[in-house]
């Protein structure tokens, strides 16, 4: 937990930026990777990760534990994650409140669940299985939402908090996902940002979104293909002003620009964390 608190702003690592990332000496810089991309027997991918780890703290941000699937986490996948955790000793480990693997097939997305008591039990119990195996708590991320469920028995924040209370996990608050979900489902993102229990948040994510090609701004997509939007920066500043500094990640997965451009976005987040945005502007 101590190491975690020392992290400031970090970047999602893209393979094309490996050399720049490795060489970068920006103070406090850390990198986040999807562990699934490194669950291999050997070769250059793992060698890169090992080399990067020698210079920068790493965060393993899983996209595929399928915690919300109505089954226990895939044992082989969990073992591969555990091996990677031992190998790179990450500062942070996180996953999503979503499902993707079902009946032995993986769907590359973060699929939604109705927030029922049954889902609550299942997710909390699955997180406990993961944490027991990794011997450390994980942070749980709020995904972006595109659908209205009649079956919801909890609102999202109550659901996340209750899962954290039962399992001992913390929260990874993705501010862009809060903004996208609030826009798509019609509620106030500020209300969510203001209500998140400060003591549960151990990491924050920032990313860009896009508008649906046919519906426009009525349906925002969590596409990670553009810079962080001004509205999301505002929500982030509002959050940090209330809860204080937290390790913050800037993500970009499509239309990936130069490393320097991503580093500039990371510097912006760093300035917010240092409370020096006004001076920097």
């Amino acid at each position: 937990m101590h190491a975690m608190q020392e992290l400031t702003a970090g970047l999602g690592l893209k393979p094309q930026h490996f050399d720049d990332a490795h060489a970068c000496r920006a103070a406090g810089l850390w990198f986040e990777v999807h562990p699934e991309n490194y669950m291999v027997a050997g070769g250059p991918r793992l060698a890169w990760l090992d080399a990067l780890r020698e210079r920068h703290p790493l965060s393993l941000h899983g996209v595929a534990m399928s915690l919300a699937a109505d089954t226990t986490p895939d044992a082989a996948h969990l073992e591969r994650l555990a091996a990677l955790v031992v190998r790179v000793q990450p500062a942070l480990v996180s996953e999503h409140l979503a499902w993707s693997t079902w009946n032995g097939a993986y769907r590359p997305d973060l699929l939604p669940v109705p927030r029922t008591r049954q889902a609550l039990h299942r997710i909390a119990s699955n997180i406990a299985v993961v944490q027991d195996r990794l011997r450390r708590p994980i942070a749980l991320e709020n995904p972006s939402h595109y659908l209205t469920f009649d079956e919801h028995e909890f609102d999202e924040l109550d659901f996340l908090v209750e899962i954290a209370r039962r399992s001992g996990c913390t929260l990874l608050l993705d501010v862009n996902n809060v903004y996208v979900s609030a826009n798509n489902l019609g509620y106030s993102p500020e209300a969510v940002i203001d209500a998140v229990p400060a003591d549960l948040v151990t990491e924050v994510h920032l990313a860009g979104h896009s508008t649906d090609p046919s519906l426009g701004a009525r349906l925002l997509i969590d596409s990670h293909d553009s810079p962080v939007a001004p509205q999301v920066w505002s929500l982030y500043e509002r959050l940090i002003a209330r809860i204080g500094a937290r390790p913050t990640l800037v993500e970009r997965d499509e239309h990936v620009p130069s490393f320097a451009e991503l580093l500039a976005e990371r510097t912006h987040a760093q300035a917010v964390l240092h409370g020096t945005l006004a001076e920097a502007a």
Partner: protein, 259 residues
């Protein structure tokens, strides 16, 4: 609806040609515009993974054709693990039976080489045989030792098509080529002695030699396998090619009954 039943129904509607064919209890979800976001993301994720893993195939057929074919495959075969670097284990077999690919009979063979490249890329790290270790062997050792291939070494031979030329020109379009080539069988050897995967052309005799090594046969029997294919094989040149490529991991003594 129980969570498991919901997940069965949602999973089915995600990849159905027509999502409106979803079970009635899902109608409220499938009818919302946001449902298409999940359908598009899953399909795009599968197609992007195949595009990344089969670049020579994609260059041969063009992106539009490739993505259309990959979409058909994606609806039939979802990834079996989230490590998408290795997705597409059966894609070459799919292309071999895919009607629109019938005009390109070599496409499945090119896909197999792309697949072998992925395997070589993620294979376990391994020692590379020091050529001096082989040089120190006495003639009498040849039926007592075997040369286990390096963990990342992959090879294939194709009787019908110049598979190395077709694959390498499309996998690495920036490389220099002299333009002309004969349409005859070729083989490919992929190795990863350290860092990046390297590729080179492989003879049919060379492929037989490596396959014998992979079976744990003695050097003598690997030589016999190569000679049986082509009596004119320059064995010294062949073994030197393998040593330079880093195709072997070690010299290993055979148990007496195996020799």
């Amino acid at each position: 609806m129980l969570l498991a039943d919901y997940q069965d129904a949602f999973a089915q509607a995600l990849l159905a040609e027509d999502p409106r064919s979803a079970p009635p209890q899902l109608a409220r979800l499938v009818g919302q515009p946001g449902f298409a976001v999940y359908r598009n993301t899953v399909l795009k994720g599968c197609i992007d993974a195949l595009h990344a893993n089969f670049p020579a195939v994609a260059r041969l057929v063009g992106d539009e054709w490739f993505r259309a074919a990959a979409a058909v495959y994606a609806r039939r075969e979802l990834p079996t693990t989230p490590t998408l670097l290795t997705h597409g284990q059966t894609f070459a077999d799919f292309l071999a039976r895919f009607e629109p690919a019938a005009e390109l009979p070599y496409l499945a063979a090119v896909a197999r080489v792309d697949r072998l490249w992925s395997e070589a890329h993620v294979a376990a790290d391994d020692a590379v045989l020091d050529p001096a270790a082989l040089a120190s062997l006495a003639p009498a050792d040849m039926d007592r030792v075997t040369l286990p291939p390096h963990a990342a070494a992959r090879w294939t031979w194709c009787d019908e098509h110049p598979i190395y030329t077709l694959w390498s020109r499309n996998r690495d379009p920036a490389a220099d080529f002299d333009g002309q080539f004969d349409w005859r069988g070729e083989g490919v050897l992929l190795t990863r002695p350290q860092g990046a995967v390297k590729h080179q052309m492989l003879s049919r005799a060379g492929s037989a030699f490596l396959s014998a090594c992979a079976e744990g046969l003695s050097i003598e029997r690997a030589v016999a396998a190569a000679i049986e294919i082509d009596a004119t094989t320059d064995l010294a040149a062949l073994v030197n090619q393998f040593l330079q490529a880093g195709a072997f991991a070690a010299v290993q003594a055979l148990a007496f009954e195996d020799a």
